[in-house]
């Protein structure tokens, strides 16, 4: 009798597990049934927007943007922390930018190396005093320097804060209607600023922010502060990031930009309206996703005052950035990004499915929350649920294989689509060999690279829950080298 009751209990337990696994399977199927059409919409919007942009490029006279008296001046903010080795080269590169009116503000964020000395020597800096308003909160400014030889350059030496704090300090000193944020270790193509500012001059409604494409510089040949020859990197982990960046920028941002629902302009290279940035209180110091946070708050602000605006992604101005070449750095970077995403979405949760915020609230925000943020959790649950389904006999192994194949192929099609769009438009990777390599790596993008990213993201989420306000040593993206003291 006891044996029978155990059997009954076991069978009831299994039935309950089966019930929940079947329910989970159904929920996950519903999730993907909703997500896949959204992907399709984004892809179509990206293709349409890309086509329109290429048509516009044929007629857009950059010469007019360069010569027009209406082209607004731009303040370029370069936060620098321990950049002694590269800062002078970066500033020289920025001074060579093809743009009629720029003001370069380097913010030395309490560097512990010779960043400031390098700048002083190279540009003959002279200490001065300037009247400025502390409109945005920032750490104490120690001194301000001008360069009598290069009047466009201004160097602010301040007490160490964080990247947002440095940007706020720069914003307090900026005088132009638009400001451009640039990481100190990226390479901008000479006409990138001109190209990214073209929509500001040409759009009918106020352009709040514009961002260009960020491409991977690893593997490329660099000479005199410019990319001389575009090449694919050698390491697999870097090539996979090339594909990821193509997918993220050419599809994601292009598509969302077409819907005027872009929530991210990369802080590595983005142009923003200074007036609106000041109105919303500048950058938040207590978040790591300061670039996304600024854009999301701009959406909220302009929607709340019911003023037409545009936040645009421009795919042809290129900013070349170094991506992590080892797994450890990549894990830290991605975990930090995901932590930032979670933080920004949580702070602006009122936008979630809120018609008041238009496509940004109704489409982009739920997408970011459901796909980008919670996607990793859903995928992990999906993997567990499918494995259990196989073990419990809910699905036959053939069916499981079919589902796994479906997921793999659908994901890979997305990756290949990104390469296809690159091939149809800008074709930066010229040789057939590089194209083959790129395509070969797309086969590994969904498996195992995606699972690796899922791990990084979940790590970021756990970290956020455990230590929501600690950004620790990972506070800066693209800053090198980051000492442990930070």
């Amino acid at each position: 009798m006891p044996f029978r009751s155990h059997t009954i209990l076991l069978s009831e337990g299994i039935s309950a597990v089966v019930y929940w696994v079947v329910l989970l399977n159904k929920l996950i199927a519903c999730y993907y049934a909703l997500v896949l059409p959204v992907y399709a919409v984004i892809i179509v919007a990206a293709l349409w927007s890309s086509y329109r942009h290429r048509q516009a490029l044929k007629c857009r006279a950059l010469q007019r943007v360069r010569e027009s008296p209406l082209t607004p001046p731009v303040s370029i903010l370069v936060p620098a922390y321990n950049e002694a080795l590269s800062i002078c080269e970066s500033v020289r590169g920025l001074l060579q930018l093809d743009y009629p009116a720029i003001e370069i503000i380097v913010i030395n964020d309490g560097s512990t190396d010779a960043t400031l000395d390098a700048l002083r020597r190279e540009f003959g800096l002279v200490p001065t005093r300037l009247a400025w308003r502390k409109t945005l909160p920032c750490a104490n400014v120690r001194c301000v320097y001008i360069s009598p030889a290069e009047r466009r350059l201004l160097v602010i030496d301040k007490v160490n804060g964080c990247k947002s704090d440095a940007l706020n300090a720069g914003l307090n000193f900026a005088t132009s209607p638009y400001f451009c944020t640039i990481d100190a270790d990226v390479i901008l193509e000479s006409d990138a600023l001109l190209r990214v500012m073209a929509p500001v001059l040409n759009e009918r409604s106020l352009v709040l922010a514009a961002g260009g494409i960020v491409r991977v510089v690893n593997g490329c040949q660099v000479a005199n502060g410019a990319v001389a020859e575009v090449r694919l990197p050698k390491r697999s982990i870097e090539v996979l990031q090339v594909i990821e960046y193509l997918r993220g920028f050419l599809f994601g941002r292009e598509g969302w930009s077409a819907l005027n629902a872009l929530l991210i302009i990369s802080g590595a290279f983005g142009v923003f309206s200074r007036r609106v940035a000041l109105e919303i209180g500048g950058y938040r110091n207590d978040t790591v996703g300061e670039d996304m946070d600024l854009v999301v708050r701009m959406h909220r602000h302009l929607r709340s005052i019911r003023k037409p605006y545009r936040i645009v992604f421009v795919p042809d101005p290129v900013c070349w950035t170094q991506v992590p070449a080892d797994l450890k750095t990549l894990v830290r970077q991605r975990a930090r990004w995901h932590k930032g995403l979670l933080d920004v979405l949580w702070r602006s949760r009122c936008m979630f499915f809120n018609p008041r915020y238009g496509p940004a609230g109704m489409l982009a925000f739920p997408y970011q929350a459901a796909v980008e943020l919670l996607g990793p959790i859903v995928e992990v649950i999906g993997i567990i649920s499918l494995t259990l389904s196989g073990v419990l006999g809910i699905f036959r192994w053939g069916q499981l294989l079919s589902i796994a194949l479906f997921a793999y192929l659908a994901g890979t099609i997305l990756s290949v689509s990104a390469v296809l769009l690159e091939e149809l438009t800008y074709r930066r990777y010229k040789t057939m060999g590089e194209l083959f390599r790129l395509l070969a790596y797309t086969l590994f993008d969904f498996f195992p690279y995606r699972q690796f990213l899922i791990f990084c993201r979940i790590k970021g989420m756990v970290d956020y829950v455990r230590r929501p306000h600690q950004w620790g040593a990972q506070q800066r993206t693209g800053f090198k080298p980051a000492p442990a003291a930070r």
Partner: protein, 420 residues
Amino acid sequence: MPTILTVPLALAAVLLLMLLFIVGRRAWRAMLFRRLDAYQEYWLKQLPALLAGATPHVSSLDKPKAREVLESLLVRRLQTSDPVVRTQAIQLLERSGLLDSRLELLQRGSRWQRLHSAAILGQVGSPTVIPALLEALHDKNHAVRIAAVRSLGVIGSAKVAPALVRFLVASKAVDKTVWLDAALLCVTDPQQFLPLLQSERPELRALGAQAIAECCEHLAVDQLEPFVFDPDPEVRAQVARVIGKTGGASAVRLLIAATYDEEWFVRLRALAALGQLRAVAALDAVMRAMGDHNFRVRQQAAATLAALATHPEEVLQALTLGNDRYARESYLSQLARSGMLWNTLPLLCSKQDSLRRGAEELLENAIRAGYFHEVQYAAETDPDPDIRTAAARLLEKCGTNLAFSGAEHGAGPLAPAHSG
């Protein structure tokens, strides 16, 4: 099993097709370019004779790609500034029938052919194609109309200017960029844009104002006078900007009037324009604007003042006496930012009394207002001992003996002064 794998197999097929398409397209492009190179090589050999007056053989123009290559070679030749080469190329286009076939395609081709022809004819740039392009402004397809506008802009003939303005007025939605690009290349007399400022449609008024602002060299200030007081603030701001470029007898008077405008950005534009004109007569108006309730206007007034004042020491003295700390700080800040304080230092050793006294007075007032950093830095580091001594003496005179150490307090911000 077959039913289970149907969807994955379909996806695999799609994936395979995509991969094949990408690789195939790249390979096809490589092949196509090789073929085009072969045609190009052939035509380049023939070109001297053809340009000299020979007619290409009919059989050599049989293949569309061969025609395309010859056409693109000639169009490229047309981009050169040599008028003889241009004439020869246009004659060859006419002789070979390529121009006629393009004109025919523009009128009767498919949408894509009309679009492509409109673009090519713009590059040909011959006056003979203008009527066809003007006709294409009424094409049923929007993209073709836009391509025609663009091509007319490329040709840049003043004759088409009225037609372009009429096209803008008649159209409900025009690509602003394309129209502006074309109009700015064709319209030599900005007066043709003036009627747009009186349009009832605000977007046309704004576009007209922008067009005028971008090509204002030939516009007399008297023609713009009525628009200084236009009801649309965007127009007023653009007109102020234009006046700053054109100048003229009544420019300063009009701009001074604009400094009283109710909109801050019009006042700001007017002040910037006064700076551009170096209108010393407007000094009082700019001094008054230093006390404007809007922060940006005050900043611009300070920048204008720094540009206008031939004797900054006198302006600084006046501002100090005026007891407006914010105005004085703004002005000194502009002088510091523009490098004027630093550049004044060598004048401390000038042999001309007036220059030396002016420099001393300016720097003394600056030091007393807290702007001592340049002088102190010069006293410590300047390679010229005379300047070091003069700077040190000046610091001593003002009672400032601080050693330069980053000067944290020197970089302190101003407390918010007024609203705006």
